[in-house]
């Protein structure tokens, strides 16, 4: 088969760049494949990133079994979540320490400036510095406990895939609530179908396409129904059929939920321990801040005392004069 596939880096959609390969008789021509928007990583970096997913993920993908892919993805996400939590805590702690040191240095400067500034101004500056440090500690604790977007996304991915495989799209939609894009959710389920090799794919994809077509708008759905000529299909039925076609045999002997629950319990326990560690760390930070504050206060008192003595001395000298 003659090839004339041109790769371009333009942002134009494939369909807008319709250079046509000379078609051999009876073969549909292929559209030109172009690269989507944005930079593309070189092959070595691509391989490095994909290998970071782990051998389990790669083997699952090679197997063509979508459920193995789901399990590997869920495992990967759990691991990533744990690592992200640790990295967040460590990073936040280091940042907090750095900022704390900076703020303490600012306090030292405030003390020095007390020799020339009024006492009230000094207290204002110290109060601001203390409030800033306390805010940093609080925000570190908050960030560590709440997690980041990537963690949330990871859970979402696992939940969407697992819930979809187990109970169909309707359950996902019920859980997720409003603002669901039917095209995207169908694309996600169909992506699972695409993983699976064999004759079931086309059939599953067919139902998915019909279901999605029916979901993307009344006018377009009517056209699709006519085009397909097999009647309207609901998005739920479409998704369920995709999953049935793509994940044949998933239900048999599949104990992912149970394993997932056990993993969640362990992870929850680990998170509590990690949270306690961070609380202890935050407490230590606050203790350091308070000690610094006490030192500063005592130095200010000493300064005030010295000023009073000076004032008294000046007054006495004036009186003698």
């Amino acid at each position: 088969m003659t090839q004339n596939i041109q790769r371009t880096a333009s942002a134009a959609h494939v369909a807008l760049n319709l250079a046509v390969r000379p078609a051999r008789e009876a073969e549909p021509p292929m559209p030109t494949l172009s690269l989507p928007d944005g930079p593309a990583a070189p092959p070595l970096r691509v391989l490095a990133e994909l290998s970071s997913l782990g051998r389990e993920f790669s083997e699952a993908f090679e197997s063509g079994d979508p459920m193995l892919v789901l399990q590997a993805a869920a495992s990967r996400i759990r691991t990533a979540r744990s690592q992200t939590a640790q990295a967040t805590a460590q990073g936040a702690s280091a940042t907090a320490r750095q900022e704390l040191h900076e703020q303490l240095a600012a306090l030292e400067r405030a003390i020095e400036s007390s020799k020339t500034a009024g006492i009230f101004d000094v207290f204002v500056k110290i109060g601001q510095a203390i409030a800033t440090v306390a805010g940093i500690v609080a925000s570190v604790a908050g960030a560590a406990f709440s997690g980041g977007l990537s963690v949330v996304g990871g859970i979402a991915c696992a939940a969407a895939l697992v819930a979809g495989a187990g109970s169909g799209l309707m359950q996902i939609m019920e859980v997720a609530g409003a603002n669901i894009d039917p095209g995207i959710s169908l694309a996600i389920t169909a992506a699972l179908a695409a993983i699976s090799l064999g004759a079931g794919v086309a059939q599953a994809g067919s139902v998915a396409a019909r279901g999605a077509q029916a979901a993307v708008g009344a006018a377009r759905a009517a056209q699709s129904a006519a085009a397909i000529g097999r009647g309207a299909a609901s998005i739920t039925a479409g998704a369920a059929s995709v999953l049935q076609g793509a994940a044949t045999g998933i239900a048999t002997g599949f104990h992912f939920d149970e394993a997932n629950h056990r993993a969640n319990a362990t992870e929850h326990s680990n998170r509590r321990e990690s949270a306690l560690d961070r609380q202890t760390e935050a407490t230590d930070l606050m203790r350091n801040v308070l000690q610094a504050y006490q030192r500063i206060t005592s130095r200010i008192s000493a300064t005030l005392s010295a000023q009073n003595q000076t004032t008294a001395l000046v007054v006495a000298n004036l009186a003698r004069a």
Partner: protein
């Protein structure tokens, strides 16, 4: 935020299209694009099976991209899996306002012998395109099909 709330809000992100599975797995968008470029290179060499394997990963990482679905469809077309190619083209059409994938799907289905479906899709594509001549190579495939055998005449 507990796990249930976390899951619920996260599901909204994925299903609303604000997050891709690649994001969730920690794979960068540039890496997915790089993977796609590798697939295109395989496709150019005529290694359609391996190209399809790569493109399957691409659609898993970012199922919202019509380009990845089109690429997967084209790879399957190269392996003469016309039914499958047609389904993927049609799925790509869902994700874009461009009617071109409908025409691609029509041509693939006509080659697979699904003539009624192919003609209806071709008519849909022709009605929605602003430049029918751009789609003519694919529409011609459909129009030239033998209604009995399902093969271009």
């Amino acid at each position: 935020m507990n796990d249930a709330n976390c899951l619920q809000s996260a599901l909204r992100e994925v299903l609303a299209g604000r997050l891709t599975p690649a994001d969730a797995l920690g794979v960068s968008a540039s890496a997915v694009r790089g993977l796609y470029a590798m697939g295109v290179a395989l496709h150019e060499r005529g290694d359609f099976e391996r190209a399809a394997s790569v493109f399957r990963r691409c659609v898993l990482f970012d199922p919202r991209s019509s380009s990845y679905w089109i690429a997967l469809a084209s790879a399957r077309l190269g392996s003469s899996a016309y039914d499958e190619a047609g389904e993927y083209y049609q799925l790509a059409a869902i994700l874009t306002d461009d009617p071109a994938p409908l025409a691609y799907a029509a041509a693939a289905f006509s080659r697979a012998g699904q003539l009624d479906r192919a003609r209806a899709l071709a008519a849909d594509a022709a009605a929605r395109t602003r430049s029918e001549s751009d789609l003519r190579p694919w529409l011609d495939i459909v129009e030239s099909c033998n209604p009995v055998e399902g093969r271009p005449s």
